[in-house]
Symmetry: C2
Subunit: 169 residues, 2 copies
């Protein structure tokens, strides 16, 4: 190979594993959601991030950041979700250049219907494999990576609310 000459053995290991995960996990979760819920992985998280917000509403920009998608990508996805009656969009009362997306009751129901099988897939593919020590290792190792990839104002959303493992802090 070419690239690993620039990486140490330990770095190569991390990169191969990260590449494997990025290359396979989203696709497997996507296939499960398409089959069982008729939603893409991205669309599912659009609904999920709205359900989590005050008034079940967010501006398109916030929602794009929360779902890790570009604004055009979100806009197209929102059109489809809106056509299905799962969300509505309206101009913000305050600054009329921003659009507020809101999850409808039907959208909330759709999310609740779709969640169990998705959560089961996440459990099966991810958390069933990980010990408590693995979780701790990943939380600390992944944090600086994740923080580097999103705008600073969103970094605090990554914080783990309370720390467990009484011994380590």
């Amino acid at each position: 190979m070419i690239e690993p000459e620039w990486l140490s053995a330990s770095e190569r290991g991390v990169w191969l594993r990260l590449h494997t995960i990025m290359g396979n996990l989203p696709g497997q979760l996507d296939a499960q959601l398409r089959k069982d819920a008729g939603l893409t992985f991205f669309e599912y998280y659009v609904l999920a991030m709205l359900s989590d917000a005050p008034e079940r509403s967010r501006s398109m920009s916030d929602l794009a950041a929360a779902t890790h998608g570009s604004l055009p990508r979100l806009s197209h996805a929102a059109s489809k979700l809106e056509a299905n009656g799962w969300l509505t969009r309206a101009l913000s009362p305050e600054s009329r250049r921003s659009t507020i997306a809101t999850l409808t009751d039907a959208g909330y129901d759709k999310l609740r219907e779709s969640a169990p099988s998705h959560v089961a897939a996440v459990r099966r593919l991810v958390f069933d494999r990980l010990s408590a020590d693995d979780l701790d290792a990943l939380n600390s190792g992944l944090e600086p990576l994740a923080a580097a990839l999103i705008p600073p104002q969103y970094v605090d959303q990554l914080k783990v609310p309370e720390s467990r493992t009484p011994g380590s802090a």
Copy 2:
């Protein structure tokens, strides 16, 4: 939100960080490669995985596994790469139902040209952020995840050749 009710605080932290990484890192690397090399992230790794193999050749199935893509996805990408003169495909002399893809000299040159800026991006986005301890934590925490996502016969490709951190093993 709905889903995190099924996840512990520690699991939620891992999931948010993993989601952030999967949602942003491939896209950022993709954009860099498109701009600087006219290649997608996936196409780059098709070239890279071939350059790494004996005779610079692999069967399409092996190559699909190595690049973490489906066979149809690889087949389409190979058509484009072949049209550019960067790889060739030929029926295997042995079993004529398998196709062997081979990196051409032009393809090798293309990879060498494209590698520096890509590696720089990987360094900037990933390894510049990680301490030696982070690397160790990630290598052990990510291994069971990555192993669960690929067919068993490919798992040993994830092994780190030599173990670092003399103290920990």
